[in-house]
C-alpha cells in the first residue's frame, strides 16, 4: 500500500479524484460538525491557541442539515469529476486500475447515492428548529420532539455511511486484484448493512438489518474461503495472472473450480441471485426507501462488476464453452422465475420492487450466460456485455426513481402496503405519472429505456444462439430441437416479462383507479420531486432518441476497455 502514497503525483490524483473527494467528504463530515471555539493553553505559558475542535460549536455549522449538504455536494462533485475525466486511464498502485469501465461505474454509484441523499431530506429530515420537549407537552408531542432531536443527531452517521458505501463501491470497480476487490466490496457491504438497520427504533428495520448482516457475513466468509482456495491453486490473486493460469489449464483443477464456485455464491448474494436472494426482500422492506434504492441499483451493479470480473476476465476460456455456463444459466432461469412469481402476490410495494429487482438480476445473468456459451464472437460478446451494463445504468433511473416515490410516501409513515399507493394520481398526478413511467420501464415497455436494455439483452442472446438452429428445418418444431439451449434463455426472459407485467401494471392500476384513503398532499419536498421528475424524463430520453445513443456509445466504449483488460 505504501506505493500508492509514495507514488502520489498530480496525474494519479487526477485519476482517482472522485475517490479522493469521497474520502475528503468523509473526513469533513467528521470534522465540520465538531468545529468549535475550543482553545488549548500551550503548556507553561498563558497563551491559549484555538484548536477548533470541541468547545462551543460555531453557530454557522451548528445546523443539522449540514451533513446532508456535504454529502450531496461531495457526491455531485464526484459524479461531475468522474464524468469529466471519463477518458483517463492508468494504474494506481499495484491493484487498482482506472479505465472507462470503472469510471462509468463510479458515475453510476455516485448518481444512485446522490439520489438517495436527496431523498433522505424527506425520509430522515433534519429539523433546524427542533427543541427540547417541555414538561407541559403531551406524550405524543414530546415523543415527536425527541424523535426530531434524535434524527438531527444521527444525520452525520447516516451520511458518513453513505459516503463510505460510495467509496467502497467506486474502489471496487477499479480493483484488478481479487483481494482488493473483496476488501472494497466488504467496505461497501458493511456500510450498507448498517444503513439497512439504521432505523433501529422500528422492529422491522433492526430485524432486516440483522438478517441481512448474518446471511451476508456467512456468504462473505464462503467467498473468502473460495478466494483462499484460488490462492492455494495459483499463488497470486491478480486477475490477469489468474486468467492466464485458467486458460493454461488442460483439465480443470478441483481447487480452482471449487474456489470459483464459492466466490460465485458470494457474488450471487450481492446481485440477489436465487437461492441466495432470500434475505434481499427482507432487507429492502426493512430499510428506508432511499437505502433500498441504493441496494437495488448501486449495490447490485457492484455485484455485477465483481461477477463480470470473475466470469468474463478470470474464468472465460479463449474458445468454447465456459465451465460455469450451465450453473449460470440455471441460476438465471430460477432467479427470474422465482423473483417474478414471488412478486406476483406480494402486497408490500417495497417487496414487489425487491422481487422485481431479483427478476432483473435473472435477466442479466441470462445475458452473461449467453457470453459464456462460447458461441459469440468478440463483437457479439461486447454487445451483450454492453446491454447488461446499459441495463445497470438505466436501472438507476427507474428503479431508484420508484424507490424515491416510495420514500415520499414513507415520509408520512406509509408505503408498506399496496393500499398506500391507492389513488396516488388523485393526490399528486405528476408523481403518479412518473411512478407509472418507472413501472412501464421496469416491465420493458417501449419506448422507455427499460425496453431498450431488455431488447438488447434478448437480441444478444438470440443473435448468438438462433443461428445454431438448422436453416433448412422444415417446421418450427424441428428447428427448435436443433437450436442451442441458450436460445431458451431468451424465451424464458420473454415469458417472465409477460408474467411480470401483471404486478407492474397493478401498481399503475391502483394509483389511477382506486380512491385514496387520504386527500392530503404529499410531503413537500421540491428537490425530491424534481429528482423524481428528472428520473422519469431521463427514463424516456435514454430509451429513444439521441441521448440513448450517446449513452449506448459511452457504455460501449467502457465495455471495450473492460474486454481489452
Amino acid at each position: 500500500m505504501s506505493s500508492i502514497i509514495t507514488d502520489m503525483d498530480l496525474a494519479t490524483t487526477q485519476l482517482i479524484l472522485p475517490e479522493l473527494l469521497l474520502l475528503g467528504g468523509i473526513i469533513a463530515m467528521i470534522l465540520v460538525p465538531n468545529l468549535g471555539d475550543a482553545t488549548m493553553r500551550i503548556p507553561l505559558t498563558r497563551v491559549r491557541i484555538p484548536i477548533l475542535i470541541g468547545g462551543t460549536r460555531f453557530a454557522s455549522i451548528n445546523n443539522p442539515k449540514l451533513p446532508n449538504q456535504i454529502a450531496t455536494t461531495v457526491l455531485a462533485l464526484a459524479f461531475l469529476t468522474s464524468f469529466l475525466f471519463l477518458g483517463e486511464h492508468g494504474e494506481v498502485g499495484n491493484s487498482l486500475q482506472v479505465d472507462e469501465f470503472s469510471r462509468l461505474f463510479t458515475l453510476l454509484f455516485t448518481a444512485a447515492l446522490f439520489l438517495a441523499s436527496v431523498a433522505t431530506t424527506a425520509r430522515l429530515p433534519a429539523r433546524p428548529r427542533a427543541s427540547v420537549p417541555l414538561d407541559t407537552d403531551s406524550t405524543t408531542h414530546s415523543d415527536a420532539k425527541v424523535n426530531a432531536l434524535i434524527d438531527n443527531r444521527r444525520q452525520v452517521d447516516f451520511h458518513i455511511l453513505l459516503l463510505t458505501t460510495g467509496l467502497g463501491m467506486s474502489l471496487m470497480a477499479m480493483a484488478t486484484n481479487l483481494f482488493m476487490l473483496f476488501v472494497c466490496l466488504e467496505l461497501a457491504s458493511l456500510s450498507s448493512y448498517i444503513l439497512v438497520a439504521f432505523h433501529k427504533e422500528t422492529d422491522v428495520g433492526g430485524e432486516a438489518g440483522m438478517k441481512y448482516f448474518i446471511v451476508g457475513s456467512v456468504v462473505s466468509a464462503v467467498g473468502i474461503y473460495g478466494m483462499s482456495l484460488l490462492y492455494l491453486w495459483n499463488g497470486s490473486l491478480d486477475m490477469a495472472n489468474l486468467a492466464a493460469s485458467w486458460k493454461g489449464m488442460e483439465v480443470i483443477d478441483p481447487f480452482a473450480a471449487i474456489g470459483v464456485g464459492l466466490m460465485l455464491v458470494a457474488f450471487g448474494f450481492k446481485v440477489g441471485a436465487a437461492p441466495f436472494h432470500l434475505a434481499v426482500p427482507d432487507a429492502y422492506a426493512g430499510a428506508s426507501s432511499p437505502i433500498a434504492g441504493v441496494l437495488a441499483t448501486a449495490s447490485k451493479a457492484m455485484g455485477f462488476v465483481a461477477l463480470m470480473r470473475l466470469l468474463l476476465v478470470v474464468t472465460m476460456p479463449s474458445a468454447g464453452q465456459a465451465s460455469w455456463l450451465l450453473v449460470l444459466a440455471l441460476v438465471a432461469v430460477v432467479t427470474m422465475t422465482w423473483g417474478n412469481l414471488a412478486a406476483l402476490t406480494s402486497d408490500n410495494p417495497k417487496r414487489v420492487l425487491a422481487y422485481s429487482s431479483v427478476a432483473h438480476a435473472g435477466y442479466m445473468l441470462a445475458a452473461l450466460a449467453a457470453i459464456g456459451s462460447g458461441l459469440a464472437d468478440s463483437d457479439t460478446s461486447a454487445l451483450i456485455a454492453t446491454a447488461v451494463v446499459f441495463h445497470l445504468c438505466v436501472l438507476v433511473l427507474f428503479k431508484m426513481g420508484a424507490f424515491l416515490v416510495l420514500s415520499m410516501l414513507e415520509a408520512e409513515g406509509r408505503g408498506h402496503r399496496m393500499e398506500d399507493l391507492h389513488g396516488l394520481a388523485r393526490r399528486d398526478p405528476v408523481i403518479a405519472t412518473s411512478m407509472f413511467v418507472f413501472m412501464l420501464s421496469l416491465a420493458g415497455v417501449p419506448p422507455l429505456s427499460g425496453f431498450l436494455s431488455k431488447l438488447l439483452m434478448i437480441n444478444g442472446i438470440v443473435n448468438v444462439s438462433a443461428g445454431t438452429g438448422s436453416a433448412s428445418a422444415a417446421t418450427a418444431l424441428s428447428w427448435a430441437q436443433g437450436v442451442d439451449p441458450v436460445f431458451w434463455l431468451a424465451i424464458a426472459i420473454v415469458l417472465n416479462s409477460a408474467l411480470s407485467l401483471f404486478y407492474y401494471l397493478r401498481i399503475g392500476l391502483v394509483m389511477f383507479f382506486e380512491s385514496p384513503d387520504t386527500e392530503n398532499p404529499l410531503v413537500h419536498s421540491p428537490s425530491l420531486k424534481m429528482a423524481i421528475i428528472a428520473c422519469a424524463v431521463l427514463t424516456l430520453l435514454f430509451g429513444i432518441g439521441p441521448l440513448s445513443d450517446s449513452l449506448l456509445d459511452m457504455v460501449g466504449s467502457a465495455v471495450d476497455s473492460f474486454m481489452r483488460s
Partner: protein, 771 residues
Amino acid sequence: MSDTKNEWELLVPIIPFLLVAPSLKFLAGWESVEAAFLIVVVPLLIFPAILVLGQLYNGNETWKNRYKEGGIFALGSLALSLSIAIWILYDYIVGSAHFEAHSVVDPFSWLTFDVIEQTGAQWEVSTGFTDIGVGVWIDSVTLMLLFVATFLCFLICWFSLGYMNTDKINEDSNHRFYGEFVLFAIGMFGMVLADNFLWLFIFWEIMGLCSYLLIGFYYWKDSAAYAAKKAFLTTRVGDVFLMVGLLILYDIYGSLDFAVIFDDPSTGVGGMMVESSELFWALLMLFIGAVGKSAQFPLHVWLPDAMEGPTPVSALIHAATMVNAGLYLVVRMVPFVDIHVNGVAGLENFALIVAWIGGITAFMAAAIAFVQNDIKKVLAYSTMSQLAYIFTGLGAGLLFLNIGEHHAGYFVIGASMFHLFNHAMAKGMLFMASGSVIHEVHHAHDHVRELSDKYSTNEGDDHGDFDPQDMRIMGGLAARMPVTATAMMLGSMSIIGIPLIGGFWSKEGIIAETWAACLHEEPLMFVPALLVLATAGMTGFYMTRMWLMTFAGPPKSEIVGHVHEATPWIKEPLIILSVITALGGFALALFGAVEYLGDPEYDHLSFHGILYTLEHAFLPEDTNLRLVGWTTILIAMVIGPVMASRIHGGRLIDGVEASPLVSWLVDLSSRFGSQDVSELADSQLAEALQRRLYFDDLYEITLAKTAIPLAGLSAWFDKNVIDGVIKQIESNSASGSVQVRRITTGSARDYILMAAVGMLSIFALLWGVSA
C-alpha cells in the same frame, strides 16, 4: 347557464391556439404545407390530455366551469386545425407556387421491413425492402374535405359547449365526450391528409372506433349500446372488404402510396400493364368499404340508429366526418378510371354499380323519410339520400371519364364534390338546429314537470316515456325559437334545392349530367337517373313536412309554450352556418366551384365563369337537359312542398309573431287546403316504410340463423379453451407464487440453509461439467 358575458371570457384560452398558424408563417417562415401535419398532431396531443385531466379533476369547479370539462381544450385544438386548413386553402386559391396538381410533404419512414423470400430450400432476405412512411398529400379534393371537416368540427365543438355542458345527464362525463370527439376529428383529418392507402385505412378505422364510442355515449341505455354495436359491426363489414381491396391494390402496384399508384395507374409493379378485370375487383372492394362508411344500400341500416348518440355526435357523423369518408374514397378512385390521363379502360361496369347503388339508396331513403316522426331520424334518412345523390353523380362521372368524355366527367365530379360541401354545411346546421329544438323542448319538459310536481301529489307519475325528439308534440315552435326556425328553414331549402340557395347548384348539376349520361352514352343509366329525379321531389316533400311539423301550425302539446331559446353557445354556430348555407353556395357556384373541384386543369376565376354557370344551370343547350332541369325545379320546389303543406301546413295560433320570412312561409303553407292522409298512413306501404322496408328485420333474421350460433360456438371455445388455459396459467402462477413465498420463511437460519443448498448444487454442477 350563468351570465353570457362571462361565458365569452372562457374563450380566451383559444387565442394562443389561433396564434400558432400566423406565428409559424410570419415568425418561423414556414410554408403552409409544412404545417399541415399539425392539423393531426396537435389534436392528437390534446385528446389524451383531456381524458387524463378529466379523470383527475372530475367534479372540480374550475374544471367544470372554466374549462368546460375539457371542451375548451378541444375547441382550441380544433381552432388550430381550422386555422391551418384555412391557411393552406388561402395559399392554394391565390395560387402560391407550392401547389401544382397536388403537393406531398416528404414522408418520414415509419416501418421498414425486410422481405423474406423462399429460394429453393432456404429462406433468404431479399435485396429489396419495403418501407411504409407517413406523409401528407394535398390536392383540391383534400382541401375541400379538409376545410369542411375542420370547419364543421370546430363549429360542432362550439355548439357542444352549450349543448352538452348544460345537461345534467352528462355531468362529469363530458371529458369522455370531448376526448372522443377530438379523436374522431383526428381520424377524419388524418384520413383526408394521408398520402397512402394504408394510413387512410388506419384513420378510417379510428373513425369507426370513435363512432362506436360516441354513439354509445349513453352506454347504460340499451338502445344506445345496441345502436353503437350495430354501427360498428355494419361498418366493419365494409371495412373487411376495404382491406381486401387494399391487398389487391398492393398486389397490382406493389405499393399503397398515392405517389406511386397515381403516377401511372395503368402500369403495375414491374412495368406490367394493369388488367382492368383485376382492378375492377380492387375498386369494387374499396367501394363496398365506402358503402359501409357512407351508409348506402345495402349497408345503410346503422345510420338511423346512430341517432342514439348525443346530437352533436349526429352532426359530426352526418355532416363533418364519417359519411364523407366513403365519398372521399370514391373520389380518390378518379385517377384509376380517367383514361384521359393514364387511367385503365374497361371499368364502365364499376361506374354503373356506383351510380345504381346511389340511385337506389336515394329513392329508398327518401321514401322511408316520409313516415318518420322523430326529427333526427328524418334528417338521418335525408343524409343517406343526399349522399346517394353524390354517389350517383360520382358514378356518372366515373362513367364519363372511363369512356373518354373527360369534360363532362370532371364537371359532374366537381358537382358531386360541391354537393358534398353544400350538404355538409346544410346538414351540420340542420342537426345543430334540431339539437337546439330537442334541448329546449327537453328543458321545457323538465320545467313543466317541476311545475306539475309542485302542484300535484301524484308522485308515481314519472315522465320516462317522454321523447323530446318526437315531432308530434311540437308544432308552432316558429314563434318560440326564431333563430332556430330560420336556420332550419335555410338548411331545408338548401337540401331541397330551392333555386339560388346552396344545394340547388350542385344537385342540378348531378341530375342533369346523370340524364346526359343516360341519354347520350349508356342506357343502363336510366334507372339511377329516373330515381334521382323522383327523389328531388320527395326531398321537397319530406323536408317541408319536417319543418312544418316542428315549426308551423298550432302547438301540439303544452310543453311548446315553455320553450325558450335560452342556452348560450348554441345560437352562434347556427347563425354562422345559416349565412354560409344561404349565400356560400351561390357565391361559390358563381365563382366556378364545380369546375374548380373537378377539373385538375381548370385554373381561372373570371366573370365569364359566372355567366357560364348561370347559363349551364338554367338554359343548357341540350333541350332534353333543359327539360330535366326545369322538371327538377318544378317538382322539388313546388309539387313536393305543396303536398307536404296540404297535410301538415297551418297557421300559428293567433297573437304570436315569428320573423317575417318565416311567418310568410307559415301563412303560405296554410293556403293549399288540407288533406287527410290517415287512410294512407294505415296502409301496408306506410307500415313497410315504418319498418324501414324490413331490411333491419331481414338482417336480424339472417344473423340469428348464421352468425349468432357461430358466435356462440366461438364464445364457448373462448371461454372454455382459451380462457380456461389462461385462467389455469393465472391460478397456477398465483399458487406458485404462494409456494415460492412460503420458502421465504423470514428466518435467517433457513436463508443460510438455502444458500448452503445452492452452494452444493453449484459444486455438483461444476463438478459434472469438468468431470
